[in-house]
Every structure is written in structure tokens, then in C-alpha cells.
């Protein structure tokens, strides 16, 4: 969504909520708009730092790269166990409401 001034509007809150599969009440939108605006305004201080020559850090252990294992089958969680917490199941599958 286009938002050149980086302002937090009702539409922006609703847009992010929609992406996150949440739907908010009008009251929630109003509260989050103010709170998220405050937080994003605070974190905009990061723009004070020149990072043009700085690589990003995605996690703290640079030596940890591409952890592989031998491609041998190992025992996995039995199907009944995996389904034990399912809100709904049928014939060994997770069952959900209609998709289309």
C-alpha cells in the first residue's frame, strides 16, 4: 500500500490486519492507529544512522550456515499423535470448512 509520508491511518492498520488474517473492530483500529503511530515514530530514529556500507545481521552466529544432515529417513511423529490436537479430523486428515 502506498504511503509516502509514512503516516499511520485507519486504512494502513486495516490493511496490515487483513494481511495478518485479523479483522479489527472500529475501536481497535482507533487504538492501534495511535499506538502503532507512536511506536513507528519512535523507531524512525534508526534513520539517523548511516548504514550504507553495513551488511544486515539476520542472526548472531555468523559461522552457522547451511546446516545439513544426511538424507536418511528417520521415524516421524505417528499420524494419530499428530492429529491428537486437531479441532476436527477425518480419515487421518485435518478437516476444515469449505475452501471455495
Amino acid at each position: 500500500m502506498d504511503n509516502p509520508k509514512n503516516e499511520i491511518t485507519n486504512e494502513i492498520v486495516e490493511y496490515a490486519a487483513r494481511l495478518a488474517r485479523l479483522s479489527l473492530s472500529e475501536k481497535e483500529v482507533a487504538v492501534f492507529k495511535v499506538q502503532l503511530g507512536g511506536i513507528l515514530n519512535y523507531v524512525s530514529q534508526l534513520n539517523e544512522i548511516d548504514t550504507s556500507n553495513t551488511p544486515p545481521t539476520s542472526h548472531a552466529i555468523p559461522s552457522l550456515l547451511n546446516v545439513f544432515r544426511e538424507d536418511v529417513p528417520v521415524k516421524s511423529l505417528p499420524r494419530e499423535e499428530a492429529l491428537k490436537n486437531a479441532p476436527d479430523e477425518s480419515d487421518g486428515f485435518f478437516r476444515v470448512p469449505r475452501v471455495i
Binding site: I12, A20, R21, I49, I61, P87
Partner: protein, 474 residues
């Protein structure tokens, strides 16, 4: 129960002298935990039958384990097979994990009596334990105050003697800050030191499991047991686990302790500052060298964290949609079910962070927020790399204030986030850090001292923390 208040070694001495079956003792432990819970609410619930069931397994395990019979509380986000594990969230209502976290396997192998359901902020999003959907935990030192968070229940359970030790998780200070506010020893190990297999993920580049204990010796002992490489966690590092307990007790002459000016800012409570300065004096008298250091990007750490952590959380929490486990809302189609289940299942702080995280990752904002924060993260890490060329450990307060009143910071997320301003940098840089008690403030509330170490430098932290514990007059 006073026998649980003096650490593992004393508890085990007492236990060995008992002429009763362990199940009798476990029954007392369960009853005491339930009684104390009425006022402190460190556990979401205390299930006596479950404790007795576990006690039966402990009895069968034989007496040789290093933690034989030791009651250890476990935060509600670490999976215990068949025991309710809900992250204090409605969305995981009724969830009983089909497997144990690796740390649980290790604790049980050592003979510990594992007690789950230690209360927490919902999904570990918070610094006060107030966002639990089951209601807040109270600080055993003053029940009108918060225990800190998010591992507030795990901290309070140790402080109140419901258990001898506990396990928490720390993403931005969630072990250390409640440890400080409850007056106990609380360690966040180096990123990669402890397997996170079975820890319900919050921010995967920051999360780490660690021990919360009555003393430094217990912290070292617990870390020895839970640390180590695990093929089931690809971020756990294959580095040998030292015998931490053996490192305790040596002198600390010549140890260089760095004091970062950036941490001694306005807004620190006067008594916190006083106690921390007294701790520096303790170290000076023991022969440590105190040097000034600089961590220039400290003031950006909070901003950096409040982009990275919600971003990762929004991704990790995408899995809660009512299909595989937990709460499912009634709905006519699939998308509607996702939305309704999440709406009903998540509390306000979770929604706030998921929306914030989704926004900073969304198309058009990724570079401006998430990528920028990751670059600043590099700067913060480089600060530490440079500082550790001049010192062995870094000393700071754990939290700017002692325990605050329940409700005081709930309406202002930013003021709540500031509780973690001193603990967040260690997560961003992946460093080990420990909070130890260093006396009380004018109201009789505990103050925490934080020591940060080099990657995989837990042994040095323990040694320094132990020296303070034995020589502290407070």
C-alpha cells in the same frame, strides 16, 4: 515451604534425610504450590495429579540423577508431552504437545520433577506478566506489583519457594528482567547454547531458553544439564559444554569489567543506580579492574528490537489459524475460520505486535524498517565486538526500575517496552547475560545487576556472579 528456598544442594540434603517416599514429598510440594498460587498465581494452574504422575516417574528413575527429586517449574511456552502448554493464550487452549522439548528430556533424565504451566505474558509479549489470558502473576515481594515478564511466573515460583528452580525463555530480557524484579539469579545463555526444540517460537533469531534459580551455583548446574548441540535445532551450536560448576569459586583478580556510559542514563531509579555502584565497589575490592567502555549504538537497540521481534513474531504466529491445534472458531469458509479463530484467540498485545510486524515486513516497507533494523543490528553487534577487546565482561543494571505496580504501564506500550532497554542488546548480539540480585531499594524491592559476556563465555559470567554473591554485603 522453606526447604525449597535455599538452592538445589540444600534441598537435596534435606530430601536425602527424608524417611518418606518421594511421592509423599511431591504431594507436599504440590499442595504448597497450590496454596501459594492463590495469592501469587505463578502457575496458570497447579495440577496435583499430574505432579504425582511425574513424581512416580522420578521415583522410577533412581536416585543418581544430578537433579533427583528437584521441583523445576517450566514456562508455559516449553512443550511437555501430554501436559497443557498454551503460551498463556486462548488460541492454544487445550493444546497438549505430542512430544517433549529437548530441555524437558534433559531435565527428566537428570531426575527433575518437571512442573509445567508457569504463567507468562501471552506468547511472551510483555514485561510484566499482565498480558496472560489467565490473569497476571503477582510479585511475591509485594503482591500489588508485577513480577516482571515475560517469564514472570517462572521467576515468582522460584522467589516464592513453590519450586527450587525454573526454566524461562528470553527474547529481549524475558528471563533477566523478571529475575531482577523477583530477586533471583537468571541467565540468558548465548544464542545457540541451548536447544530450542520444543520452545514455542516468538522471534527465532533472538529466543533462548535459560535457568532461573536461587543462586549462581544452581544456574551453572542447570545450564550444564540443558546446554549442548541438538540435531533437532539447527541453530544449536556444536561446541562442548564446559563443567561450569567447577569454574566457580576461583579468584577474579585481574578480571576486566567494562562499564558502558550509555547504560547509565536518566530514568534509572536512584536506588538501582546506588546498588549497582556498590556492586562495582565489591568487584574493585576483589581485585577486578573496572574500565569505562562505550557502546555507542545502545540508544537504538530498543527501536531495532521493536522492528525485528514483531516481524519475526508475525511470521511465527501465522501458524495459529485453527487447523492443526488449539482454538477453532465456527465459520462458513476457510478464510473466515482463520480470521475468526485468530480474532478470538489472540489478546490485544499479540494483535498489536502481529500487525506491527506484518506492517514492517509488508511490500514497500521491508527495506525502510526490517532491513534497516538488521543493519543497525550489525552496528550494535560491532559495538560489543570492539568493547570485548578492552574488557572480559560488561556490568550494567538489569532494568531501570524495581517492580512496578500492576496496571501502571498497561495503557502505554512504549513505557512498558522501556523496561527492557538494558536487556535487549544482548539478544540482538546473541551474547550470554546474567541477572543477579544486588540488594534492595528503599521500598524493600530487589534490584538486579546484569553481567554480559563474550559469546559462549558463560563460565566467566558464572565466576564473576559467584564472586559477587559470596562477597556482597547487601
Amino acid at each position: 515451604m522453606k526447604d525449597t528456598l535455599n538452592g538445589i544442594a540444600n534441598y537435596r540434603k534435606w530430601l536425602n534425610a527424608q524417611k518418606r517416599a518421594f511421592s509423599d514429598i511431591a504431594s507436599d510440594i504440590a499442595e504448597n504450590a497450590a496454596k501459594v498460587n492463590d495469592s501469587v498465581h505463578s502457575f496458570i494452574s497447579v495440577d496435583k495429579d499430574e505432579i504425582l504422575l511425574k513424581a512416580g516417574n522420578v521415583e522410577k528413575s533412581g536416585h543418581s540423577g544430578a537433579l533427583y527429586g528437584v521441583p523445576v517449574a517450566v514456562k508455559d511456552n516449553i512443550c511437555i508431552k501430554d501436559v497443557l502448554t498454551t503460551c498463556a493464550s486462548r488460541i492454544l487452549e487445550g493444546f497438549r504437545p505430542p512430544y517433549n522439548a529437548t530441555v524437558i528430556e534433559k531435565l527428566e533424565k537428570a531426575g527433575a520433577l518437571v512442573i509445567g504451566r508457569a504463567n507468562m505474558d501471552e506468547f511472551a509479549f510483555g514485561s510484566s506478566c499482565e498480558t496472560s489470558c489467565y490473569g497476571p502473576t503477582r510479585n511475591p515481594w509485594d503482591i500489588s506489583r508485577v513480577p516482571g515478564g515475560s517469564s514472570g511466573g517462572a521467576a515468582a515460583a522460584v522467589a516464592a519457594g513453590q519450586v527450587v528452580a525454573s526454566l524461562g525463555s528470553d527474547t529481549g530480557g524475558s528471563i533477566r528482567q523478571p529475575g531482577a524484579l523477583c530477586g533471583i539469579v537468571a541467565l540468558k545463555p548465548t544464542y545457540g547454547r541451548v536447544s530450542r526444540y520444543g520452545l514455542i517460537a516468538f522471534a527465532s533469531s533472538l529466543d533462548q531458553i535459560g535457568p532461573m534459580t536461587r543462586n549462581v551455583e544452581d544456574s551453572a548446574k542447570l545450564l550444564e544439564i540443558i546446554a549442548g548441540h541438538d540435531p533437532k535445532d539447527s541453530t544449536s551450536v556444536d561446541i562442548e559444554v564446559p563443567n561450569y560448576s567447577k569454574e566457580l569459586g576461583g579468584g577474579i583478580e585481574g578480571l576486566t569489567i567494562g562499564i558502558p556510559g550509555e547504560y547509565f542514563i536518566e530514568g534509572i531509579a536512584k536506588d538501582v543506580l546506588l546498588r549497582v555502584k556498590e556492586a562495582m565497589e565489591v568487584y574493585r575490592k576483589l581485585g577486578a579492574r573496572i574500565v569505562d567502555i562505550s557502546l555507542p549504538h545502545t540508544k537504538y537497540a530498543l527501536s531495532c528490537y521493536y522492528i525485528i521481534a514483531p516481524a519475526e513474531a508475525s511470521s511465527n504466529l501465522a501458524r495459529y489459524e485453527g487447523v492443526h491445534y488449539g482454538r477453532r472458531a465456527k465459520a462458513n469458509d476457510l478464510i473466515d475460520m482463520y480470521i475468526k479463530s485468530r480474532n478470538e484467540g489472540f489478546g490485544p498485545e499479540v494483535k498489536r505486535r502481529v500487525i506491527l510486524g506484518t506492517y514492517v515486513l509488508s511490500s514497500g516497507y521491508y527495506d525502510a524498517f526490517y532491513l534497516k533494523a538488521q543493519k543497525v543490528r550489525t552496528k550494535i553487534k560491532e559495538d560489543f565486538d570492539a568493547a570485548f577487546k578492552k574488557c572480559d565482561i560488561i556490568l550494567t543494571p538489569t532494568s531501570p526500575t524495581t517492580a512496578f505496580k500492576i496496571g501502571e504501564r498497561m495503557d502505554d506500550p512504549l513505557s512498558m517496552y522501556l523496561s527492557d532497554v538494558f536487556t535487549i542488546p544482548a539478544n540482538l548480539a546473541g551474547l550470554p547475560a546474567i541477572s543477579i540480585p544486588c540488594g534492595l531499594d528503599g521500598s524493600g524491592l530487589p534490584v538486579g545487576l546484569q553481567l554480559m559476556g563474550k559469546p559462549f563465555g558463560e563460565a566467566t559470567l558464572f565466576k564473576a556472579a559467584y564472586a559477587h554473591e559470596k562477597n556482597n554485603i547487601n
